[in-house]
């Protein structure tokens, strides 16, 4: 796999993850800026670094599992590893301007 192929896979995973929403804000986790990093190794192993808007949110485990499930179904992905971090903590400025506008910012 070439770096270009990896970049395409990352794009496909990122697009697929738009199906997963943060239930409280009602918007997808990608545009909310909750996906910090997606990396591909060996052409098929995907590592995703995520956060949540609030530490200790009861939906955290479900969001993490949803992201894992969603990414795993993307063509070319064989293994997914989702890690949760609060460093740096999520900030509203991480949202896309469109989503920020929807939330009345």
């Amino acid at each position: 796999m070439t770096p270009v192929d990896d970049a395409h896979l990352i794009d496909r995973v990122r697009t697929a993850l738009k199906m997963v929403i943060d239930p409280e804000l009602g918007q997808n986790v990608v545009d909310l800026g909750m996906i910090y990093e997606i990396t591909v190794t060996d052409g098929c192993i995907v590592a995703i670094l995520i956060t949540t808007t609030t530490r200790g949110c009861p939906a955290t485990d479900f969001i993490r599992q949803g992201i894992e499930e969603c990414a795993w179904h993307v063509d070319g992905v064989e293994l997914v590893n989702v890690r949760l971090t609060y460093d740096p903590p999520w900030l509203p400025s991480m949202m896309t301007p469109e989503i920020a506008a929807l939330l009345g910012q």
Binding site: M19, V20, I21, P23, E24, L25, G26, T53, T54, R55, G56, C57, P58, A59, T60, D61, F62, I63, R64, Q65, G66, I67, E68, E69, C70, L84, P92, L103, G104, Q105
Partner: protein, 452 residues
């Protein structure tokens, strides 16, 4: 991995609490208790405890079982204690109310039932405290909102202890001048610990976190919030220190009560300032019904201290204390509770019903589970009824008071119907509901039962 869990029995606590609220409002509409009877009459005591234990304390316990894990980002410890505690609290409350009904000569039961109910209640609340306490102990150092909860739970222990002392004295099982003096002079301490310490400090702590979660307000760790906690804890310490004065019936009690009140007022003023700041600094400009319905509760929290100071200065506290308590309990505490329930019930229902579907298929938002345009007017009606109810009680118009409590009851029932619709996903299309199994109204359900 740090994270909270879904409290499986919280919805059952909420259902029991709402039934108690409706029951208390029905009694008030029927003219039971103050102002139809004396404020210290057993009928009033029955009504007060149905409201404060049955409605507010059950609700608070259910909410804490869900939100303490959120506050400390750790799962609830010993969750199997939750249903046991609920059962004990309900049995204890039932016995306590029977004891008051016996004193009012409505039913006949042995006088020991009253203190026995207090003991069962103490064990029930103790069970909740054990579960929450262990959860927080394992999460040290505690966040600032969690420290409010610790102060609230400490107040609950004090409230229950004083209450049980009263019950033992009333049943004739505890005698002597000191016990009688405590019963005569210690009721304000019991009320301050319960309404001020247990309910208000806990509600404050939880609300700071909920602001951050639901309005994207900045996380609080500000100096003023520490001062709120300090003033609140200082009030509790003064109340605890005043207990020997109440037992000895000395003049020092009034001075200490005044100091406690001043500390409480300082805490309220600083909290009010924090709330205004958080509303202003929120990143989510379009706020939801739970946030703007809570404004009515904050309004009551502003008016109540002003009324208190006015009554103190005019020497009318003894005649106005009923209206003041009604405003504080139904305007501030119950208003905040109902407005936050509107969100919490939707959030927990979403977690039960749709969280396992994340990543598998499109899911609705939490907000799709509620019907804000139709629910909002009922919150308005509720606050208006409570406001006029307090006013008519204050100027001694008992019939008008009952009329406004009738409106309050109707609004409460309408808000409860909205909770019911949220629980059964009735605000979603039939198509969205089709893939979800039968929704349990208030019994816990396993999220594993949901069809993928």
């Amino acid at each position: 991995m740090p994270g909270a869990s879904l409290s499986r029995w919280t919805m059952t606590y909420f259902a029991a609490a709402l039934l108690c609220l409706i029951g208390a409002e029905v009694l008030m509409v029927a003219g039971f208790g103050y102002p139809a009877t004396a404020i210290e009459a057993p009928e009033t005591l029955l009504l007060v405890h149905l409201t404060t234990i049955g409605w507010l304390s059950l609700l608070m316990c259910g909410a804490l079982l869900q939100f303490v894990p959120v506050l400390v980002a750790r799962p609830l410890q010993w969750p199997l204690l939750s249903p046991i505690a609920l059962l004990l609290i309900l049995v204890g409350l039932g016995a306590l109310l029977c004891g008051f009904a016996n004193m009012a000569e409505i039913i006949t039961v042995p006088t020991e039932v009253l203190p026995l109910g207090g003991v069962v209640l103490a064990v029930g609340f103790g069970t909740v405290i054990v579960s929450l306490g262990r959860t927080m102990w394992m999460a040290r150092p505690l966040t600032l909102p969690a420290k409010f909860v610790v102060a609230g739970l400490a107040s609950l222990i004090g409230t229950v202890t004083l209450g049980e002392t009263f019950a033992l004295t009333l049943a004739g099982l505890l005698g002597g001048e000191e016990a009688l003096s405590l019963l005569t002079h210690g009721v304000p301490l019991h009320a301050l610990l319960g309404l001020g310490g247990w309910m208000t400090l806990t509600a404050m702590g939880a609300s700071y976190r909920l602001f951050a979660m639901f309005m994207l307000a900045p996380d609080i760790d500000r100096f003023s919030t520490r001062l709120v906690l300090f003033a609140g804890v200082f009030m509790l310490v003064v109340v605890a220190a005043a207990t020997p004065f109440a037992m000895a019936a000395t003049m020092g009690l009034s001075v200490m009560l005044l100091i406690a009140l001043l500390a409480g007022l300082c805490a309220l003023a600083l909290y009010g300032r924090d709330v205004v700041t958080l509303y202003r600094q929120r990143k989510r400009r379009k706020i939801e019904l739970n946030a703007y319905a809570a404004l009515g509760a904050f309004g009551a929290l502003v008016i109540a201290p002003i009324l208190l100071v006015g009554l103190l200065l005019s020497g009318q506290l003894s005649t106005g204390v009923g209206a003041l308590t009604y405003l504080f309990v139904f305007g501030w505490l119950s208003g905040l509770a109902l407005s936050k329930l509107h969100k919490i019930i939707a959030f927990m229902t979403w977690l039960e019903s749709f969280a396992p579907l994340l990543g598998k298929r499109p899911t609705p938002r939490v907000q799709d589970l509620v019907d804000e345009p139709h629910a909002a007017p009922w919150f308005g009606a509720y606050y208006a009824a409570v406001g006029f109810g307090a006013l008519t009680m204050l100027v001694d118009l008992p019939i008008a008071f009952r009329l406004f409590v009738g409106v309050q009851l109707f609004a409460t029932l309408a808000i409860t119907v909205h909770f019911y619709r949220t629980r059964l996903l009735l605000n979603l299309s039939a198509e969205s509901r089709a893939s979800i199994g039968t929704q349990h109204l208030f019994f816990p359900q396993s999220i594993a039962r949901i069809r993928p």
